[in-house]
Subunit: 205 residues, 2 copies
DNA sequence: TTCGTCATGTAATGGGTTACATGATTAC
DNA sequence: GTAATCATGTAACCCATTACATGACGAA
């Protein structure tokens, strides 16, 4: 898709986390282009006789013709897979986790599990740190600070419970997948829930 | 206190949110100094005969003598009060809210209430946005993205409930304070909970 | 024809981090 | 005396945002 569209979609997908300004998005696309990870297409949708002078009669002529449409190259897809396959420490930091999670649909099952578990242990470390600070400073902070800590701690605890559910769900899916040997392990969608394929750049190379 | 100490305390107070590197802290202190909002003291704690050659025998000689100890000037305190009194939109953004909340102990009750309500309405806007995106994209995103949205939405809902409790608590405290006319309104500590005074730069001017 | 939205881009700017360098003080 | 920690500071850099500038297109 093109930049403008990408940004809006980025917003709806991980909007709660962060959105990206055009000032960083467009230069980034240029870099990706220079690195050969994406190619630029011009999306002139069959210029058979589209040049007819008649006004487009409102809503027809579906998508407004847009400037630059980008598409991942083979190199780009490989790079993406490398990125998604990493699952290292960067993937369980606050920043990285959201993005990695948003791409779980394209991520190998074993990597998904590693990321979820890594994230959980990160949060458990943080919980420990907060709890320690809690007992250490008990009487030395005012009640608002205490309340802030309490709420922060509960937030972390809640996310850990969420991760526990996801991990259990992933493990369950793994067991089911291994019972029926019809497919290679580590590539299916996951646990509960029906249709799970993402839009998946359609007829691309 | 001095920079090193400040940073550690910053970490324990709003550590869950963000910590500050020395690379930004020290230049910042220099700017504050240049603006006359803080002064530098050298904290030579009574050099009566502390120069005795004997080793300090371990744990005595309480605070380690530190390099530069800063203290707020009258101007600095005024500026702080201005900052704390603002309670405008900046105070209910993700960034600003944590800091403002951490200073609630020094903040006027009416400002506290305004900040809490502003924060709540910000979150309610966000909830609406997420819910809208939810129904709009219902069938077009994979289950992981959906799960991310669901969890994000619940996080926001939870924070709203937390704010509701805090607001109720503040209102209750306000009513109690107005019943006993012993003090000026809008300066007491708040609702439930015992000791609430913060360290409050001790015998300072 | 003009306005609003879609769409892309550039330059200035800002706020922070990392990495580095230094020195004082305490513990062994 | 040497290592670890406390404590301060500087410089390079990273990365994103803001503000600005441009242009195409659809609707009034």
């Amino acid at each position: 898709m093109h930049g403008y569209e990408l940004r809006k979609r980025l917003y709806t997908v991980l909007g709660a986390f962060r959105t990206l300004s055009y000032g960083s998005l467009y230069p980034c696309l240029q870099d990706l282009l220079a690195d050969g990870l994406i190619v630029e297409e011009h999306d002139e949708p069959a210029d058979d006789d589209a040049r007819s002078g008649t006004a487009p009669t409102g809503r027809s002529r579906a998508g407004r013709r847009s400037k630059k449409v980008y598409r991942l190259t083979a190199d780009g897809k490989e790079r993406l897979q490398d990125l998604l396959g990493e699952g290292g420490p960067a993937a369980w930091e606050d920043d990285g986790f959201g993005v990695h999670f948003a791409f779980f649909g394209q991520t190998r099952a074993d990597v998904r599990l590693r990321i979820l578990e890594g994230r959980r242990s990160r949060l458990e470390e943080r919980m420990e740190a907060i709890r320690a600070a809690f007992t250490r400073t008990r009487e030395r902070v005012d009640r608002y600070t205490l309340e802030l800590h309490r709420h922060g701690l509960e937030s972390v605890e809640r996310e850990v419970r969420w991760l526990n559910e996801l991990i259990a769900s992933e493990r369950e899916a793994g067991r089911e997948a291994s019972r029926e040997p019809g497919r290679e392990p580590g590539r299916e969608a996951g646990a509960a829930g029906g249709q799970s394929h993402i839009s998946d750049n359609e007829e691309s190379s």
